[in-house]
């Protein structure tokens, strides 16, 4: 079984108000040295077909990430037990 982990992150320059709010909370908790907090998504899936990489690329471009505001990276692990 092939496991794919896709990371979707906001592009540089795109404002992340959620990250900013988390940063403020961390500061309230006393973590002063924390900055540039950004929130992204981790999407995991198992794929049965071959040619996983090509498929994942298209999936990300078509649906999983919005190219206007987001970047994506992924890791593919072969032979993972589900």
């Amino acid at each position: 079984m092939t496991k794919v982990s896709i990371h979707v992150t906001l592009k540089e320059g795109v404002l992340d108000p959620q990250g900013k709010a988390i940063e403020n909370s961390l500061s309230t908790l006393g973590y002063d040295g924390v900055h540039d907090v950004r929130v992204g998504k981790l999407i995991e899936m198992f794929i049965d077909h071959e040619d996983v990489e090509a498929q994942v690329n298209v999936m990300c471009e078509k649906l999983l990430a919005n190219p206007v505001i987001e970047n994506f990276t992924y890791e593919i692990e072969e032979g993972v037990a589900q």
Partner: protein, 227 residues
């Protein structure tokens, strides 16, 4: 003139949109369930607000993969007027029918109140009944209405007069105070504020009605030209 109002699972402004077209304007209107993908035979298409598919993944992202969006693309190409409001705007952006994206409001809050909008372009088929730079009062109701696009896209929007509505007092952090944009062809308009909620005096404002009367007048003019 016959309007189609597309209904997705999770749409919640479909009845308001229908009411504005049918009762406030007095045109024909039909609610079209998203699985009945036939959009032919309508003179204009309205995509209402709401939370299609629970806003899963990104607002409008799941709806943009449905078959009806394929029909919508075809109608857009043909020149059929298409108006997307709020979640409808998000769907148009996710479908690539309009440029840019909508992200979380700068203050992270869901905002729901009347906003003053400036009509920047009154030469679109949606806005001819307004004066240029007319200030209108229309309600917003969204958590993710912060319009974003890169500098190049913004320059193109300005160059082609695609910025139709701007906020007088930007409530969500949108670049250039953008509240609504139109495509280059001029027949697809997306906006976060809800003109259908300001289509009758009883609702506190009827400033939104002129969008519907503009569409009707332009349809009549075109009909007369083609006849």
């Amino acid at each position: 003139m016959k309007f189609a109002v597309i209904v997705f699972p999770g749409s919640n402004c479909d009845r308001d949109m229908y009411h504005a077209a049918k009762d406030a304007l007095g045109a024909e209107a039909e609610l079209v369930w998203y699985q009945d993908a036939a959009l032919e035979g309508y003179d204009a298409i309205l995509i209402p607000g709401g939370f299609s598919y629970g806003d899963y993944l990104r607002c409008g992202a799941i709806a943009s993969t449905s078959d009806i969006v394929t029909s919508l693309r075809r109608e857009a190409k043909k020149g059929t007027p298409i108006l997307g409001v709020c979640n409808g705007f998000q769907i148009l952006l996710e479908s690539g029918l309009l440029p840019g994206a909508l992200i979380r409001n700068q203050n992270l809050k869901f905002i729901c109140h009347f906003e003053e909008l400036v009509v920047n372009n009154n030469e679109t088929l949606f806005t001819t009944d307004y004066e240029k730079n007319e200030v209108i009062s229309v309600p917003v109701a969204h958590g993710e209405g912060n319009y974003y696009c890169d500098d190049q896209t913004l320059a193109e929007l300005v160059e082609h007069k695609q910025i139709v509505f701007t906020y007088k007092n930007n409530p969500n952090g949108s670049v250039r105070d953008i509240a609504g944009i139109v495509n280059k062809q001029g027949n697809v308009l997306g906006m976060m504020p809800h003109p259908e909620r300001a289509a009758e005096r009883l609702l506190g404002s009827d400033d939104g009605l002129k969008m519907f009367t503009s569409m009707l007048k332009n349809w009549r003019d075109q009909y007369a030209t083609n006849a």
